[in-house]
């Protein structure tokens, strides 16, 4: 059986890239990252490793962008189609639900790669002024961004399949992202060592500070994001399938 993934993906990319809203999202994204990079240069005090560790790991604006943007990109993926009725057309076509979900997920990831790509030019700029960033650190930092974005995109997609109101989807997605970020960080307050260990193992912040922005590739961390993404995509597919059961 031929896969319907390429045309579905193309359809998603068209809807993402040909929307004026996408470029407003891009503009604000670049503005925030530009400010974040400026702050990182100040915080790093000239040291490139520290600058990059802040810009791509421990900076406040970095986390604001990383937690909010997947929500903005995914909130309308299914909810809007459901509201406008185009989802029914897609689902009655000879395509599998899994392919629909995967196409939406991949489309959102490609679009977010398009958002992050210009930030690589910041590296070109500091190279121009004589700095030599560590390629290993850069690679793992962007890999970390891709991993976290992947998980949060899959989560956003799931919430978008649950409702036909994109604002509700956005709120659910944002609450999930903020809790995923903040709960592990507040675990030490409870003073339970086992809980601290679990929190450290699933903490996005810890993954960045301990691995990604330090130049370390951790198979455990990567598997966490890959598995998390897979689980959320499977549940999203089931959520879409559930429409047939009603």
């Amino acid at each position: 059986m031929r896969t319907a993934l390429p045309p579905l993906l193309w359809r998603e990319l068209e809807s993402l890239f040909f929307s004026p809203l996408a470029y407003i999202v891009l503009t604000i994204f670049l503005l925030l990252n530009g400010v974040s990079f400026g702050v990182a240069l100040q915080v790093g005090n000239g040291a490139v490793t520290d600058t990059l560790a802040y810009f791509l790991g421990s900076g406040h604006l970095f986390w604001v962008v990383l937690l909010i943007w997947p929500t903005l990109v995914t909130m309308r993926l299914v909810a809007e189609e459901r509201r406008s009725g185009t989802l029914e057309m897609v689902l009655t076509a000879p395509v599998r639900d899994g392919e629909v979900v995967l196409a939406k997920y991949l489309g959102a990831m490609v679009f977010q790669a398009f958002l992050w790509a210009p930030t690589l030019t910041y590296i070109v700029i500091i190279r121009r002024y004589g700095a030599l960033p560590d390629p290993g650190q850069l690679f793992t930092a962007y890999l970390g961004i891709a991993s976290v974005t992947s998980l949060l995109t899959a989560a956003g997609l799931l919430f978008s399949t649950l409702t036909d109101n994109q604002i509700v989807a956005a709120v659910l997605s944002l609450v999930f992202n903020v809790l995923a970020f903040a709960l592990p960080a507040s675990a030490p307050l409870l003073g339970l060592p086992w809980l601290e260990q679990v929190a450290a193992a699933i903490s996005m912040q810890e993954h960045f500070v301990g691995s990604f922005s330090r130049g370390i590739l951790d198979t455990g961390v990567l598997t966490f994001y890959a598995a998390g993404t897979a689980v959320l995509l499977i549940v999203s597919t089931r959520s879409l399938e559930a429409r047939r059961w009603r």
Binding site: G38, I125, T219, G220, A227
Partner: protein, 503 residues
């Protein structure tokens, strides 16, 4: 119709159960996979940075793997906050050093499989806990790591784990090298051991003292050895004719008084019984008429030169010419980390060590530290024993590489290392006044003498640090590009897409 509806409902229910079942099975599989790969035995961490800063050596992994009791690393870092430290960049360098040390310990914890844990105590957040530790352990300064085992605690100071060039008015302070793995692993070995190796410093014969933290003492060296988990003490040979038998290593540094035949005999007996000796001898000290020190050296197969090694390469004059750089370290367990990192040492007012003409055939001498070839042995002038630090063109002074550190290997007896200087381990030369390798050479030597080769093996990390210094105009350029031009480009792209779509 009723039958058809019932059939469809049944099929839908079947699909639902199948869907739920598949989802649950997949979820179970993923959770199992996640659990499996986060197990320390399966989990792999690969350091992709240029200097592989956080990659643990094989020896460290073995030590961590063999841990039977729980170990806690307690980080007590307090970077300087005064205005001068901030102005010279020392505060930033210390912050970076502390971050490196904490990150490295994090790797230890991950690699330990739950047997080690890390506690980071900050003076601003945990003042009470820190005060309690300071009282309990009689700490005189912070910027250290406590490695705590079930029964023992070992201190590792920040300056043993990194080298910070303090800078000056013109040059900013900076981290020069990262070498925390060796002392941390050594500390792990120490807290694990029931009885730490005992090192005794001979006193009562003059020379630098281990409780002297001034210019001429060796307090910092002794403190570093304590930090390595070694049991440091002093002993004299006035009332007793033998070295305390519980000692594993005896250190004799720069005796200024005659050793005496009884003391020399005691040291030789200790060596013959398998005890290890570290001798740091300064060439200008005149030997007593009984020749006890020369006799001791001769028994070990060695002879020392009275001439002070000097170099006229560089801008130094007078005594400054007696500060000889040592860049050649022969392959040996002691020198392996120093060679790997291409560090250098500085030996002040040192003398050459050589093979005694009557040394026994089974005595093998391994020179581990050698001077440069431009060095000459300056002839002593007058009673002080110092020369004029000027090379004489006549035949009496010859240029050539000299042995400054020698390992003595013999069929019988304990390990022996002899250096042609005691001052290179002095407080003045362990910091910025000496070379980067002075401290390591001393510590690695004692660890080797105490049979703790695994405390030497972990390799030293090189720094991969690039700096970007922006002038005001350049900062402005960066701002214009990142905050104005790039976002504006995004907006223009959007307008272009909108325009094309509209047409």
């Amino acid at each position: 119709m009723a039958m058809k509806g019932g059939f469809t409902r049944g099929r839908r229910a079947l699909e639902m159960v199948e869907g739920l079942g598949t989802t649950l099975a997949l979820l179970g599989l993923l959770v199992a996979l996640l659990y499996a790969v986060t197990r320390p035995a399966v989990r792999v961490r690969i350091d992709l940075t240029e200097g592989a800063t956080y990659e643990l050596g094989e020896q460290t992994l073995q030590v961590l793997g063999a841990l039977e009791e729980p170990i806690t690393f307690v980080s007590l870092m307090q970077p300087a906050t005064d205005a001068l430290a901030k102005a010279t960049g020392l505060a930033d360098a210390q912050v970076a050093a502390a971050r490196y040390v904490n990150a490295l310990m994090h790797e230890y914890v991950l690699a330990s499989g739950g047997r080690a844990r890390l506690e980071v105590l900050r003076p601003d957040r945990h003042p009470e806990q820190i005060r309690a530790l300071v009282d309990q352990l009689h700490l005189t300064r912070l910027n250290l790591v406590l490695v705590r085992g079930p029964t023992r605690t070992v201190l590792v100071f920040l300056d043993e784990m990194v080298t910070i060039d303090p800078g000056d008015e013109d040059l900013q302070a900076e981290l020069v090298d990262l070498r925390a793995e060796a002392p941390l692993t050594s500390a792990l070995l120490s807290v694990r051991a029931e009885v730490p190796p005992r090192v005794g410093f001979l006193i009562g014969k003059g020379g630098p003292q281990i409780d002297d933290f001034g210019e001429f003492g060796v307090g910092l060296f002794a403190e570093s050895l304590r930090g390595q988990g070694l049991d440091i003490s002093t002993f004299d040979l006035f009332e007793r004719a033998e070295v305390p038998p519980e000692l594993d290593v005896v250190v004799v540094l720069g005796p200024t008084q005659p050793l005496g035949s009884a003391a020399a005999t005691a040291l030789l007996d200790f060596h013959a019984d398998g005890g290890a000796l570290l001798l740091g001898l300064d060439p200008e000290q005149p030997e007593a008429e009984d020749g006890s020190l020369e006799g001791l050296l001769a028994q070990l197969g060695l002879v020392r030169s009275k001439g002070i090694l000097a170099t006229d390469v560089g801008l130094g004059v007078g005594f400054a010419r007696g500060l000889v750089p040592v860049r050649t370290f022969a392959p040996h367990e002691i020198t392996a980390p120093i060679r790997r990192q291409r560090l250098f040492a500085r030996f002040p007012l040192a003398g050459a060590i050589g093979r005694h003409p009557s040394a026994a055939a089974d005595v093998v001498l391994e020179p581990i530290a050698l001077s440069e070839a431009d060095v000459w042995a300056d002839r002593p002038v007058g009673e002080q024993g110092f020369g004029d630090f000027t090379f004489s063109e006549d035949d009496s002074e010859l240029r050539g590489a000299r042995w400054l550190g020698v390992v003595v290997e013999a069929d019988e007896g304990g390990r022996v290392v002899v250096f042609g200087s005691s001052r290179f381990l002095g407080n003045q030369y362990l910091g910025s006044g000496g070379g980067q390798a002075n401290s390591d050479l001393g510590i690695h030597t004692v660890n080797w003498l105490a049979n703790r080769s695994d405390a030497i093996a972990p390799r030293v990390r090189s720094i991969y640090e690039s700096k970007v210094e922006l002038y005001e105009a350049e900062t402005h350029e960066v701002f214009v590009y990142t905050v104005l031009l790039l976002p504006l480009g995004g907006l223009l792209l959007g307008l272009a897409v909108w325009f094309v779509r509209r047409r």
